[in-house]
Amino acid sequence: MALITLRNVSKTYMMGSNRVDALRDVSLSIDAGEFVTITGPSGSGKSTMMHILGCLDRPTDGSYELDGQEVARMTPEELADTRNRRIGFVFQGFNLLPRTSALENVEVPLLYSRKHPNTAERHRRGLAVLEAMGLGGRADHHPSQLSGGQQQRVAIARALVNEPSLILADEPTGNLDSATSVEVMRTLQTLREERGITIVLITHEPEIAAYGTRIISIRDGVITEDRPNPQPQSAALASVTAAAGA
């Protein structure tokens, strides 16, 4: 069943007096459990796509259904609530709060949860996802005391803490070396396989796009290619090869 359904979505900006059509009449359906990678050169509209999928922005035209709910006409508050409950974000620059411990970073989405879990509950859930990311021993560390890969795993833990059905990753490996990139991709693949979480990943690197089960290419605000990837790159194998080669 479709987790995401875009129908004839357009997004138009005004840049000064120029009209910019970032997305033109895009229709797209993503099923639960897919690992979709969206590629395209800069300015292709993939970032706009990401913002609309992530409920950070509303389309100018068309409809967007997320998990059966129409997002296009939600109020900003409803959008915030949807982001909090249904979507986990992973950013290129990690976007961790500086001078704040890994655990506190992971707990941030819980602070904005409408269920208002108390402090003990927040700690418990935060620690649980950190441990799942293999960072249980680093809960008290500040981002500056963690490696790039560890920081991105803290960010993934933060994305997971509210148990969303969708993870949106925006160039998650952009700031990482190739070995660490593989590590992160492996984490994402594992999440999909073990928890059935739908992953939408935006990248401009074809090698990273190859990890997805479906690859979408965007250019000038239009989907130019949308093909399944029956044999995605396996991060588990790659890391074994990398380890053997080292």
């Binding site: 992530g54 900003p76 915030a80 909090n84 974000f89 208002h116 402090t119």
Partner: protein, 523 residues
């Protein structure tokens, strides 16, 4: 609730990450609130000091004197008390109390005046030979001390001494009138006091028969040695005596402790139980001052030994300084009623407030100026007017101080607002991230708003402490009177909180209205 706690935790985190700016903004608030608390303490201190000094000087005191020498007297038009100057001192003794009562009953005070006039030989002193000579009241005698006429004010002399007040009158004032604090009845005489030993020194002074309450009325009193006599001693008409500082010094030597020693008066032995001194600059003990150059005995003792039952004065204090005039009027009414005086007859007693004496007793020049500057006539001055004019000038000063403090608090508030605007700009990316993670506009707004509140609240409390400490220091170093009230600290902290709320609104609104995408990509 949990939401608020989480927000507070967030705000604290935010402040923790901008420690230096937060500390600087905090200092602004602390100084502002501190200045506010200090100036309020100074204002209150000044007010208290003025009140204390006024009370110590006796401005809440009403003195009821028997007789009414101010009544216009037949045959002596325009007569003022001074016209009887040469009669005043001897007045008490010219006529035995019983005799004066006889004259008073049929004709009132006017008759007494007529009686005196009949004694007057034109161009001469009054008929001295009629006077039953009291050993110390011969006006022709050469005295080594101030005579009664020199010592005593108009109120104490002449017809004023007519004995029309009774112990029951005093009791009635005490029990029937509201706003009355203490009542002390008094009998006043001149007396010669001699040390009860071979070749003991003697001193002519003023004698006051009074009650155990008197020290509470005379707020400027303290007892360097011994104590005042007790209710019990009054009840027993005990032969105990309290010496004024001047008397003690003259009889026993400067600063000596006479407690437990004996003196003789009217050939009767008295035990000295205490010495009374002055605590206020408004009344320093000097010879002839009628207060510290005086001896105090239980009124009952004087009544017993002199076989008297009437009072010369009733001293009343009011609970509130501002009520003095009103209570003085009530006393007049009560006594007229008790003495059965009809509407067309003058009082047979005099009720005076001590406001005007305050001026004589040497207020500090600045206060005297305030008083005389605001009042056309000192004689017309009432307690309310005195209190009002003092409070008015004090309020002006207070308004100035509070104004300055408010400006500094405002500057502190602007500092907080500035910090928050800076913080919103600095943390735009963080705000974007929080929004992406599910924060609503109002979550972001309340985070900054609570930051402002926390800063100002902490600043308010620290500022109140700082202000109290400053006030204490000023009191110590400059000897200014200050009075830090808990209310002023609470008020200052509340003002700081309001300030924080005002300072927090604009930055919080700006943060809440950020576009999450732009904020997220803000460099």
């Amino acid at each position: 609730m949990e939401g608020i706690r989480a927000q507070a935790a967030l705000a604290l985190q935010g402040l923790g990450r901008n420690r230096i700016q937060a500390a600087l903004a905090l200092i602004g608030v602390v100084v502002g609130v501190g200045a506010l608390v200090t100036s309020m303490a100074l204002g209150r201190g000044a007010q208290t000091a003025i009140r204390e000094q006024l009370l110590a000087a006796g401005v809440n005191v009403i003195i009821v004197t028997s007789g009414n020498y101010q009544v216009e007297q037949p045959g002596a038009t325009g007569a003022s008390p001074t016209d009887h100057g040469d009669l005043r001192g001897p007045g008490d003794y010219d006529l035995p109390i019983a005799a004066s009562g006889r004259f008073l009953r049929p004709g009132g005070p006017g008759a007494v005046a007529a009686f005196y006039d009949s004694l007057r030989i034109p161009g001469q002193m009054p008929a001295l030979e009629l006077r039953p000579a009291h050993f110390e009241d011969d006006p022709m005698a050469v005295h080594d001390h101030p005579t009664a006429a020199q010592r005593l004010g108009d109120a104490m002399a002449g017809l004023g001494a007519a004995a029309t007040l009774s112990v029951d009158d005093a009791r009635a004032i005490r029990t029937e009138l509201a706003g009355v604090q203490y009542v002390a009845s008094g009998v006043h005489e001149n007396a010669r006091v001699t040390v009860d030993e071979e070749g003991g020194k003697q001193w002519f002074t003023r004698l006051h028969g009074t009650e155990a309450d008197l020290p509470t009325i005379r707020r400027g009193w303290f007892f360097p040695q011994g104590r005042f006599f007790t209710e019990r001693e009054v009840a027993d008409s005990a032969q105990v005596m309290v010496l004024g500082r001047v008397v003690a010094d003259r009889l026993f030597g400067e600063g000596a402790n006479p407690v437990g020693r004996g003196v003789l008066m009217w050939n009767q032995p008295f035990e000295i139980v205490g010495v009374v001194g002055s605590t206020t600059w408004a009344a320093q003990p000097v010879a002839g001052d009628d207060q510290f150059d005086a001896v105090y005995l239980p009124v009952s003792t004087v009544h017993r030994l002199l076989n008297l039952s009437k009072l010369n004065t009733i001293t009343v204090t009011t609970k509130s300084a501002g009520e003095t005039t009103a209570i003085a009027e009530n006393i007049t009414e009560l006594l007229r009623q008790r003495h059965g005086i009809t509407e067309d007859m003058p009082d047979d007693f005099t009720v005076r407030t001590q406001a005007e004496q305050v001026l004589n007793k040497g207020l500090p020049p600045e206060l005297a100026r305030v008083v005389s500057g605001n009042l056309s006539s000192v004689d017309d001055m009432t307690m309310e007017q005195l209190a009002t004019s003092m409070q008015r000038s004090n309020r002006t000063l207070l308004a100035l101080l509070v104004g300055v403090a408010a400006v500094s608090l405002l500057v502190g508030g602007i500092g907080v607002m500035n910090l928050l605007f800076l913080s919103v700009t600095q943390r735009t990316r963080e705000i974007g991230l929080r929004m992406a993670l599910g924060a609503r506009g109002r979550d972001i707004a309340s985070q900054f708003f609570i930051e402002a509140l926390i800063l100002c609240c902490v600043g308010g409390v620290l500022g109140a402490l700082f202000g109290a400490a400053t006030a204490r220091a000023l009191e110590g170093v400059l000897a200014w009177g200050t009075d830090v009230s808990p209310e002023s600290a609470v008020i200052a902290t509340l003002v700081a909180l309001v300030l924080g709320a005002v300072a927090g609104v604009l930055p919080a609104r700006r943060a809440a209205r950020l576009d999450p995408i732009r904020a997220l990509h803000h460099e």
